[in-house]
């Protein structure tokens, strides 16, 4: 038996990829979450602010509307350690802007066009994430 989580992962993944395909084929844009919000935050992407804002609005509103479909309460299960949350947020913000992409831009959109930058970025953030889990969960026990 294949675990249901894997099947939902595949279904959700196909939805994520279809969303990226729509954005590329209709608007000619790469669906990268950090780039879309980052361009608004540092004002480097204000020229097409309406498209960016609309994308973010859809990203927030649609899953919020889906919550009642779930019988169990949906949770992010995020840590309650605020220091860890702040450190993690800062690292994700700085890192994605330096690397010019995150899981969606480098991972989904980059790997699928065989971009060397996307593949290298993905290798490095996976390695860093795995190492962080090893050190902070199994050695230091803080997460």
């Amino acid at each position: 038996m294949i675990p249901m989580d894997w099947i939902w992962g595949l279904v959700g993944g196909l939805m994520i990829g279809s969303a990226a395909a729509l954005f590329l084929l209709f608007n000619g844009r790469i669906m990268g979450a950090s780039g879309i919000i980052g361009g608004l935050v540092d004002r480097s992407g204000l020229r097409d602010w309406a498209e960016r804002a609309a994308f973010l609005a859809g990203l927030v509103v649609v899953p919020a509307l889906m919550l009642p479909l779930y019988r169990v309460e949906v949770s992010t299960n995020i840590t309650s350690n605020l220091a860890v949350i702040i450190a993690g947020g800062l690292l994700v913000g700085i890192g994605t802007r330096l690397a010019n992409g995150c899981t969606s831009g480098h991972g989904v959109c980059g790997i699928s066009r065989f971009s060397l930058r996307g593949i290298v970025a993905t290798v490095f953030y996976l390695l860093a994430g795995g190492l962080t889990m090893l050190v902070f969960r199994h050695v230091l026990g803080v997460i």
Binding site: L14, A20, G58, T79, L91, G130
Partner: protein, 144 residues
């Protein structure tokens, strides 16, 4: 106007996919990264599923002159790697591992992520604002 509506639809489908796939649950993401603990392979199915439609989409861009709603398709990927790509990805991966959220799910889950989710998002925005001066310093160090 059509471009704005399409962007909203794409963002909505992206958010729905993140929720359905389990990527807004930090335990699923940290489970994937926890190779030396209780490893959870779900994320491989998510990434694999997401790449399939995009393989088709990138192929279609070679057969069409322009996107359906105007503009141009993205330029060919830059083959140069550079220190910022590597350093940035390492920092991003560390933050991703610490909390289990990357930018897409962090935004998608804002309506149910509670205080922790909002603090994460604000910290991420602060990091994005701090990135340009950090990039200048790194570039200066790399050039020296």
């Amino acid at each position: 106007m059509q471009r704005v509506l399409l962007a909203a639809a794409s963002g909505g489908l992206f958010g729905a996919g993140l929720l359905v796939s389990g990527m807004t649950d930090t335990t699923k993401v940290q489970g994937w990264l926890d190779v030396f603990g209780a490893w959870d392979p779900t994320l491989a199915f998510v990434l694999g599923g997401a790449i399939l439609p995009m393989l088709v989409a990138w192929h279609l861009t070679t057969r069409r002159a322009a996107p359906a709603l105007g503009g141009t398709f993205p330029a060919k990927p830059d083959p140069r790697l550079g220190h910022n790509l590597v350093l940035g990805s390492v920092l991003f991966g560390a933050g991703w591992g610490l909390v289990g959220l990357c930018p897409g799910p962090a935004i998608a889950s804002i309506s149910w992520g509670g205080t922790g989710g909002i603090v994460f998002l604000l910290s991420m925005v602060a990091g994005m604002l701090a990135a340009p001066p950090i990039r200048q310093r790194v570039d200066r160090l790399a050039a020296a």
